[in-house]
């Protein structure tokens, strides 16, 4: 007979641990199941001495365990003693493989080690990391077998066997090969899953003989050797028979099994197939399976403090006790600005009643949404955002109205329940119109990340926004004077098309039956000239292509290719021609834009390398940039004053690497931020610290927790993790008395701090270019260039830029 508990908690992360400790504190029968021999594996695996932050600051902590910003060791130590103090019942080594709900109520949990538990309720707090795959052979847990590598420089002169063929395995093998004998075991005949750069690195290592590789081989056994020259040995099966390796260390990098399949097997439903989606849970953290609760990152709450609070609250909910959510005071303060505020629940209800878009989501999702959002009550006539601003938040009108100011002085009134700001949110480009407050206006302003999370997790929200987007995009771009009724036939036939980077929308010479209004991403327009494809122009989001077909020429005159992953609104040709016939203004406008475009194309066609320069810039990812630093190598005297200026104006760390990066026709693209339309760095920032300023600068705010996700996500390598160096002395005290480091010099690094990260004074945070948004003179790199070699331009300027280079 298996043990039976009131609450079984799966996973001892911050959420699960806090829940178990609270249950222990209350004297409720419980068990905390953890597959590893230690608690909180995700934080345990942080590198030594890593500074862990406690965002969000404003949120109070509610847990029997303590938590404040500090080093990994301090936090883990406090948790361990907290868990022991309240006598929490922990079972280590129990990797839960199956949770089944019993017909009579309650659950049976089966573990990988054969143990079974029964529980009335289950709290799932397994996070998103998944379980690390082990080798699955005898000896996989020996002390010299490890499944991660913190610092390759720790090892020297060892024989190290790296098992695996993914990026992590390759990066480890290449980094270790400098000081060790490295042998890679690859189950397959090639490194099929690796990134291009890693593939080259490992093949070069193998070619040079620095790394030995067994292809098509698998380990069969690892064992310790007493008294031998090496502490261990591995037996493996190779295509040529058995082999044996004497070794010091095994590093197996076999990836992790994503938790989703396991969670789904427990009966929990996900709203869609998007890997970023999280299961829907009630305001009491209960999933669609009654009695199965979800806390922490798995439920969409990635921050430690949030998860710990949820662990506490979920136990209270299970006991049926009313508990005021920890975020209640925050919400009360937010809603306090609304006229007629009584309780948070009533205010939430009012938001949901008035805004159709938000009626699709659960109360818990709305709470979360509102914590990220702001309530704004602009006065009539007050600007909410101005045309050409680079902001990207989304607004829903809860009460009253707002007004859109169009060209001239025409105004369109938006009423209660409508929303705006979706254009910039989707395209990542400047605001297309100015919006001002109307009578009794109450708005919910939602930052980009929360809105994207909502769009990706609730299909109905995405559908509603897309419908409105198509309507507004067509109306504002083509026919601001037409009514919705006149546009109805076009909108009915319009649809959203998606293109991968490099995919062709249409080719020169094809019959054209539509035009494309670019909604996300950008395109290049090219023609066959002298037997090769020459790029003639660059089309950014918000513009259209393919209008020639509408003007009577049936065939496409040029090829349109997606420069990056892009989305367009495809407008049917027949319906568009219809509209043009009824609307002579539209015809004139399209004609004049066409003439301008043709003239620009012709100018570029006559340049020998102009189009090649644009192609080069696009191939460097400039297609998704909003602002990119370019250096003219025929002017650059390599003085690095740009880097020095960057470091001096940004706490000592240069955010640009002048020398790195490719060049073409004497134009150099240094490693520096391009302020992408849809910044990759924003994708997965737990405290949502990365924002776009009104002038377009993508910057990292002070609430960065130093997790390094943005650095990993940036395809251009422009983000670094850096601590703030000591303050520099004044010019005179440096010049006359030799105090500290002088202007432009790299700061001295304390030798102790270098050796032991735990001793480093300041925690490392992510730093990147902020285009000197806080300096009134503009980017310091450009202003510090003595020879005028450095410029920052936006992709719309590429054709003009190419023409200026002859």
């Amino acid at each position: 007979m298996a043990d039976r508990f009131r609450i079984a908690i799966v996973g001892s992360g911050p959420g699960g641990m806090s829940a178990a400790a609270h249950a222990a504190e209350l004297g409720i029968s419980h068990i905390l199941l953890e597959s590893e021999p230690h608690l909180s594996n995700t934080i345990y695996r942080y590198q030594k001495g890593k500074h862990v932050m406690a965002e969000p600051d404003a949120l109070p902590l509610r847990s029997p365990l303590t938590f404040a910003a500090g080093t990994r060791e301090k936090i883990l130590g406090e948790w361990d003693s907290g868990i022991a103090k309240v006598k929490t019942n922990v079972a280590h080594g129990c990797e839960v493989t199956n949770i089944s709900r019993q017909p009579a109520g309650g659950f049976v949990l089966k573990c990988g080690n054969g143990r079974e538990f029964e529980a009335e309720t289950v709290v799932l707090g397994i996070g998103l990391q998944g379980n690390i795959r082990k080798m699955g052979v005898p000896g996989e847990d020996l002390p010299f077998v490890q499944y991660q590598l913190d610092d390759p420089e720790e090892y020297e002169g060892e024989t190290i066997v790296v098992v695996g063929a993914g990026d992590a395995a390759i990066e480890n093998a290449v980094a270790l090969a400098d000081r060790n004998k490295v042998i890679v075991i690859n189950r397959r005949d090639e490194f099929a899953r690796a990134k291009e750069g890693n593939l080259q690195a490992i093949m070069k290592g193998i070619g040079d003989g620095r790394i030995e590789c067994y292809f098509g081989s698998a380990p069969e056994l690892v064992e310790a050797v007493e008294g031998g020259p090496k502490p261990g040995r591995m037996a493996l099966a190779t295509p040529n028979g058995k082999a044996e390796i004497a070794l010091d260390r095994v590093i197996a990098r076999l990836g992790a099994s994503a938790p989703r399949a396991f969670v789904e097997a427990c009966g929990v439903e996900f709203p869609n197939k998007d890997p970023a989606s999280v299961p829907a849970i009630s305001s009491k953290y209960e999933s669609n399976v009654p009695g199965l609760y979800i806390v922490g990152a798995l439920g969409g709450y990635p921050l430690i403090k949030q998860a710990m609070n949820q662990g506490y609250e979920v136990v209270e909910h299970i006991l049926g006790r009313p508990v005021e959510p920890a975020d209640e005071p925050l919400l009360r303060e937010k809603f306090g600005r609304m006229a007629g505020f009584s309780t948070v629940d009533a205010a939430l209800q009012r938001v949901q009643d008035n805004v159709r878009l938000l009626s699709h989501i659960t109360p818990l999702q709305l709470r979360e949404f509102m914590i990220d959002s702001d309530i704004r009550t602009p006065k009539p006539g007050e600007t909410i955002f101005a045309r050409n601003d680079y902001t990207d938040s989304f607004y829903s009108i809860v009460e009253g109205e707002a007004q859109v100011i169009l060209d001239g002085d025409r105004r369109v009134t938006l009423k209660r329940g409508e929303f705006f700001g979706e254009m910039s949110l989707i395209s990542g480009r400047r605001r297309s119109a100015t919006i001002i407050g109307g009578v009794g206006c109450v708005l919910v302003e939602t930052p980009r990340r929360s809105m994207n999370k909502l769009i990706n997790s609730v299909a109905a929200v995405k559908r509603d926004i897309d419908t409105v987007f198509i309507l507004r995009a067509i109306q504002s771009r083509f026919a601001p004077e037409s009514s919705y009724a006149e546009l109805a036939p076009i909108i009915e036939n319009a649809r959203i098309d998606k293109f991968k980077a490099g995919e062709v929308l249409f080719r020169e010479g094809e019959e054209g039956d539509c035009l494309h209004l670019v909604r996300v991403g950008s395109l290049t327009i090219s023609r066959q000239i002298g037997g090769r494809e020459v790029v003639l122009s660059y089309v950014a989001a918000g513009n259209y292509v393919g209008e020639m077909t509408m003007m009577g020429e049936g065939k496409r005159t040029a090829t349109a290719t997606a420069a990056i992953a892009s989305e367009t609104v495809r407008v049917d040709a027949a319906a568009f021609r219809d509209l043009m016939q009824r609307n002579p203004m539209l015809r004139l406008r399209i004609q004049s834009e066409y003439r301008q475009r043709a003239a620009a194309n012709l100018a570029l066609q006559n340049l020998p390398t102009g189009g090649d320069l644009i192609s080069f810039l696009i191939s460097q990812g400039a297609g998704e940039a909003t602002d990119i630093l370019l250096i003219d190598e025929s002017l650059c005297v390599r003085c690095d004053n740009c880097e020095k200026a960057c470091a001096e104006t940004h706490g000592g760390t240069s955010r640009l690497d002048r020398e790195a990066g490719p060049s073409f026709a004497e134009i150099h693209v240094p490693t520096s931020c391009r302020h992408c339309e849809h910044p990759h760095c924003m994708k997965d920032c737990p405290p949502d610290a990365i924002h776009r300023a009104p002038n377009g600068e993508v910057f990292i705010a002070d609430n960065c927790i130093g997790c390094g996700n943005c650095k990993r996500n940036c395809p251009y390598g422009v983000i670094q993790m850096a601590a703030k160096p000591p303050k520099k002395p004044g010019l005179l005290s440096w010049l006359l008395f030799g105090a500290g480091t002088g202007p432009g010099e790299a700061p001295h690094v304390d030798a102790d701090a270098k050796k032991d990260p735990a001793k480093a004074a300041a925690p490392k945070k992510a730093v990147k270019c902020d285009m000197c948004k806080d300096l009134s003179g503009g980017p310091a790199c450009v202003r510090a260039c003595p020879t005028g070699a450095a410029v920052r331009i936006s992709p719309e300027e590429f054709p003009a830029y190419a023409q200026s280079r002859r």
Binding site: E633, V637, E659, A660, E666, G744, G777, P786
Partner: protein, 302 residues
């Protein structure tokens, strides 16, 4: 879009300099002091004041360049002004002096100023000419990647040499040891490196072996004392496999040599762009001292 310091803001400072020069010249010709033009007339004092202020101001370019958060114009604009107005200074100072020279502190100040300006011309030349040469020489690789590539070619050469003979290994190892980049001023300006010798030895040996093979001559067996002869000897009795390895070695050494000379050239060009500053800046401080002395002397002891 890219605006060189010579064309900055439609050559604004060229025009400022030209106006200053034209004004000074016209005033000088129109002014007719007796007994002859000199620094003591009202025009002499005016031109002297303009010149001295210009010198002090142009010197602050060094400060502006290091005031990274400054809002006082761009460094490019300052350099443009620095170059054009600095050049104009030559004539302004000449007119100020009324072409009077002798062995005194006044002429010393003028000579120092001329040296500073001429060394500045060298800098302008370097800034205009070397960046493009440097780009061409680099062929899109950074210096660091070239050096890394050299290190990996060195490893490869060592392994290949080791596969042939220990003595050959020693030759290659010595040539690697002798490969040095940069160093002192002369080291930075030199572009040859040590791989040349090793390459020549191996290549000669290979050629000789091939010739010997063609003519059917017996390989020499006698041990010879010199390094050349040793390689020669090795090649003579090498098997086909070893000869093939040697060809690979020649290839690897040649690639290394090509890369090494590119790195040296890179360092040479970069140092040429910086070296003139080591004359320009100290002379500027000497000039400041002499100029200050000149002014004090004029006012107190004239």
């Amino acid at each position: 879009m890219h605006d060189s310091f010579l064309t900055y803001a439609n050559k604004r400072y060229l025009w400022v300099a030209l106006v200053l020069l034209a004004g000074s010249l016209i005033a000088y010709m129109w002014h007719d002091p007796s007994p002859h033009p000199n620094g003591g007339t009202w025009l002499g004092y005016t031109l002297g004041t303009i010149g001295a202020l210009l010198i002090y101001w142009l010197t602050t370019y060094g400060l502006r360049k290091r005031s990274y958060a400054s809002r006082l114009g761009s460094v490019g604009g300052w350099l443009s002004a620095h170059v054009y107005l600095g050049t104009a200074l030559l004539l302004v100072a000449l007119l100020h002096s009324g072409f009077q020279f002798s062995w005194n502190v006044h002429t010393l100040a003028f000579v120092l100023m001329t040296l500073v300006i001429v060394s500045g011309f060298v800098g302008v030349f370097a800034y205009l000419r070397y960046p493009a040469l440097m780009t061409r020489n680099r062929e899109n690789a950074s210096r660091q990647t070239m050096i890394e590539e050299i290190a990996s070619l060195d490893q490869q050469s060592l392994q290949l040499a080791d596969g042939i003979d220990a003595r050959l290994h020693a030759i290659v190892a010595r040539s690697i040891d002798n490969t040095k980049f940069g160093g002192g001023v002369l080291g930075m300006l030199r572009t040859n490196d040590a791989s040349e010798q090793a390459l020549k030895q191996v290549r000669d040996a290979l050629e000789k072996r091939e010739k010997a093979g063609e003519s059917g001559a017996e390989p020499r067996t006698q041990e010879m004392p010199t390094m050349y002869a040793m390689v020669d000897f090795l090649a003579g009795k090498a098997t086909d496999v070893q000869a093939e390895t040697m060809r690979k070695l020649v290839d690897s050494l040649s690639r290394k040599k090509a890369l090494a000379s590119r790195v040296s050239r890179d360092i040479q060009l970069q140092s040429l762009m910086e070296l003139w500053l080591y004359i320009h800046v100290p002379l500027t401080f000497a000039l400041l001292a002499a100029l200050t002395a000149h002014i004090i002397v004029v006012f107190f002891y004239w």
